[in-house]
Symmetry: C2
Subunit: 102 residues, 2 copies
């Protein structure tokens, strides 16, 4: 399993647009066969800061996500709303080890 | 629901110690009544970088975690292993909205 976290800083005037576009991306992403989780979170102290928590079963499926129509649509939409470059970090899982807990 | 993410940079010589202590903390934390998730991840490009993904049902239960014996034990253990101060961020959940998806 691979978990990619993506931290995004959005321009204040685009917070609601970003929530709408990312909710749409979430709904389509969780239907991908390799997807395990696709959480969208917003910082409680800085509402312009978001975190995407994207868990996939393997590297191929993580890569396949970036070729989907819904991902490309999301990226086109949000590109001009970002206050700075987003930071993506790929992780291996330490816990939980049990796949059924995901 | 509240999700706290904690980014930790560990000294290279303490990577295995940190994994062991955090696995122990994970096992105890998921047994807390208010806990929803407690994932422990390691960056694939920087093995000294870890992410804890701690989901609780509400603020009270997030706060209660920090008073548990296992959390205090973990903090005492890992304190000298950290290469710099850890960064904690509290988040509200945008997606998934459905509690059963957590």
């Amino acid at each position: 399993m691979i978990v990619t976290t993506v931290t995004v800083y959005v321009k204040p005037e685009n917070i609601n647009d970003f929530i709408e576009a990312s909710t749409e991306n979430h709904e389509a992403s969780i239907e991908e066969p390799g997807n395990v989780r696709f959480d969208v979170l917003q910082s409680m102290t800085d509402p312009t800061r978001f975190l995407l928590y994207e868990a996939y079963q393997c590297e191929e499926e993580t890569a396949a996500h970036k070729k989907t129509e819904h991902y490309l649509k999301w990226r086109r939409k949000v590109d001009s709303w970002m206050a700075k470059a987003r930071e993506g970090v790929s992780h291996r899982v330490i816990c939980p080890r049990d796949r059924s807990k995901w």
